[in-house]
Amino acid sequence: MPMETPESTPDHASAPVNRSLSPEQKRRFLSDMLRIRRFEQAALKQYSGGKMGGFLHLYIGQESVAIGTVSLMGPNDHVITAYRDHGHALAVGMGMNECMAELFGKATGCSKGKGGSMHYFAPDKNYWGGHGIVAGQTPLGLGLAYGLKYKGLKGAALCFMGDGAVNQGCFYESLNLASLWSLPVIYIIENNHYSMGTSLNRSSAFKSCLAERAEGFAIDWDLCNGEDIYTVRAKTQEAIERAHQNSRPTVLEIETYRYYGHSVADAKHKVYRSEEEIERYKQNHDPIQRWKKQLLGEGVLTEAQYDEIDIAAQQEAEASVQFAESSPLPSEASILEDVYYEVDHGTAAGTTGRHFFNN
């Protein structure tokens, strides 16, 4: 069963990248994780209240993965992910306001209400989405790495994907290219043990783990327990160094768990997995509680501080709901905007010939 990989060991806590953390930074991770959780909970509530359409894939339970990995990003490191994208979005510094407004389908949303939950973007924060087609982002992530190398920049492309996404072919095509051309891409498999209602063992054949499939492409790979930020950071840092120093790819599988269904519409998520399983994770493996305990133990956090951080996160989430609620809808005219750069910019190219074929 899930999460049999060892939890954080003293090694990981004492990895250089973790040893150098200030108490403030450590509390910041707590805040970052709580912000994701509170944002998601607020979104869930609003979804249930009929404020949004489409799908809502919550990141709750997996917060340590986005926060741990993204916390290591430098100016030339980039992120791309799938449709379960809110955690990564907040992790890279997107505001709750534009994220919540996007869910509400408002003009103030990060994608102007055009992308929705699955399609967040913030290129100014090196965040390239939010992609709805399973594994469709894996070649794009490769392209970010290619672009970095082409431009002579020392960076990495962190490309997140699920345990179900590993069964899309373009991922393997990407692995071959990444290895053959030594591209600094890091594929991070967020293995939450289910792809919709299908458990890992019903979807994938593998030896010891999914990441090991990289071996055949001569790519370094690793597997780790994702519930602890120290572990995630230690393992991710290795991959980032490999990318920055040697321009080599990595496949890093991080075990994690989602508490809610695949999406909010997934009514059967207590059928294809047991309530006990869910409870076990919540009780024993919750990344936020684990980190809280860790910091309390280290003496860098007090219960009062925790509450303060948590309340701030809740308030920020509530405020984002207000922001979204009070934001204007996109205009009907905006339906035809953002299709073509040249049209939007009124260039000669954009004003020559018919671009749209509305009747």
Binding site: G53, G54, K114, M118, H119, I133, G136, N167, G169, M196
Partner: protein
């Protein structure tokens, strides 16, 4: 007649055909233990077991191709695409293998496969999940394409599709799964290539497929009530084969036509219908054949906006009126 949902109608069709023919097997993501992402296959795995109803990993190219290969050996796989949008990752298998294997083998190999799933916008799932590829797939000689609008049609056409010896692309609609229609208990089949005149009028022909046919029915009511215009509403039901006779018949009667579809306009199905009318009904037309399609942009997420992107009765009515001015 009992009222059942579009979803149930499909399920009954699948269930009956599984029972009728041991070569019928259902495959797709979450179709078995999960009962289907949209519950079309609910209960079938329980009823028919592991052999006949099979959950697949998220590998559309491989499992669709696998179904095609198995169909060459005589199986009749009914493959669910959770969304037809995901056909984009299996495009080669569908077009080159399902579409062309019979031709390239000089008729030696048949491919009696059905690929089914929802193909529609309007559910706020964004551009990646709102494809309506009936036009593209009907462009491929070798493929057949069916787009039922009602529970009755869905059942009758699905049963026919499964028995057909050619590859049939069967496009459903998540917005219709929960809608109810009268469906007889007795077995019935609806042939491919037969359109259904869902409403009889005399003044104008509204021609559509899929959910747009229902939108046309609503528009027809408004036209009748508010403008005294009686519209024929012709539901194509199958795109290829196409009931060209029925199209010509209604237009020869009314001499005016508005074509409605939820696809994007450029090279949509209605471009083809329009060009057929141009060629074969030119002298019958008292006014140009007009079209109403989705607004020509990728699907917009925002629920309040996306609803305006697809043809609504209020988009159709003025088009019709313009034909009489």
């Amino acid at each position: 007649m009992p009222l059942i949902t579009y979803r149930e109608a499909l399920r009954h069709a699948l269930s009956e055909e599984i029972q009728r023919d041991e070569n019928v097997v259902i495959l797709g993501e979450e179709v078995a233990e999960y009962d289907g992402a949209y519950k079309v296959t609910e209960g079938l795995w329980k009823k028919f077991g592991d052999k006949r109803v099979v959950d697949t990993p998220i590998s559309e190219a491989a499992f669709i191709g696998m179904g095609i290969g198995a169909s060459m050996l005589g199986l009749r796989p009914v493959m669910e695409l959770m969304f037809w949008s995901f056909a984009t990752v299996a495009w080669d298998q569908i077009v080159n293998n399902a579409g062309f294997v019979r031709y390239m083998s000089g008729g030696l190999i048949n491919c009696p496969i059905v690929i089914r799933g929802p193909a529609n916008g309007g559910t706020n799932v964004g551009a990646t999940h709102s494809h309506t590829p009936e036009n593209m797939l009907a462009n491929i000689p070798g493929l057949k394409v069916v787009c039922p609008a009602t529970a009755y049609d869905a059942k009758g056409l699905m049963k026919t599709a499964i028995r057909d010896n050619d590859p049939v692309m069967f496009m459903e609609n998540t917005l219709l799964y929960g809608e109810k229609w009268e469906v007889p208990d007795e077995e019935y089949l609806i042939p491919l290539g037969v359109a259904d005149l869902k409403r009889e009028g005399s003044d104008v022909s509204l021609i559509a497929h899929g959910r747009a046919a229902l939108t046309c029915l609503k528009a027809a009511e408004i036209l009748a009530a508010e403008h005294g215009i009686q519209a024929d509403v012709l539901d194509l039901r199958s795109i290829r084969p196409l009931d060209e006779e029925a199209i010509l018949r209604t237009v020869r009667k009314t001499h005016r036509a508005v074509l409605v579809e939820e696809n994007k306009p450029f090279c949509g199905v209605d471009a083809q219908i329009s060009s057929i009318l141009m060629e074969k009904a030119f002298d019958e037309l008292d006014a140009p054949v007009l079209r109403v399609s989705a607004i020509d942009a990728p699907a917009f997420y925002s629920p309040k906006i996306e609803v305006k992107q697809l043809p609504r009765p209020e988009d159709i009515v003025p088009k019709v009126l313009s034909l009489f001015s």
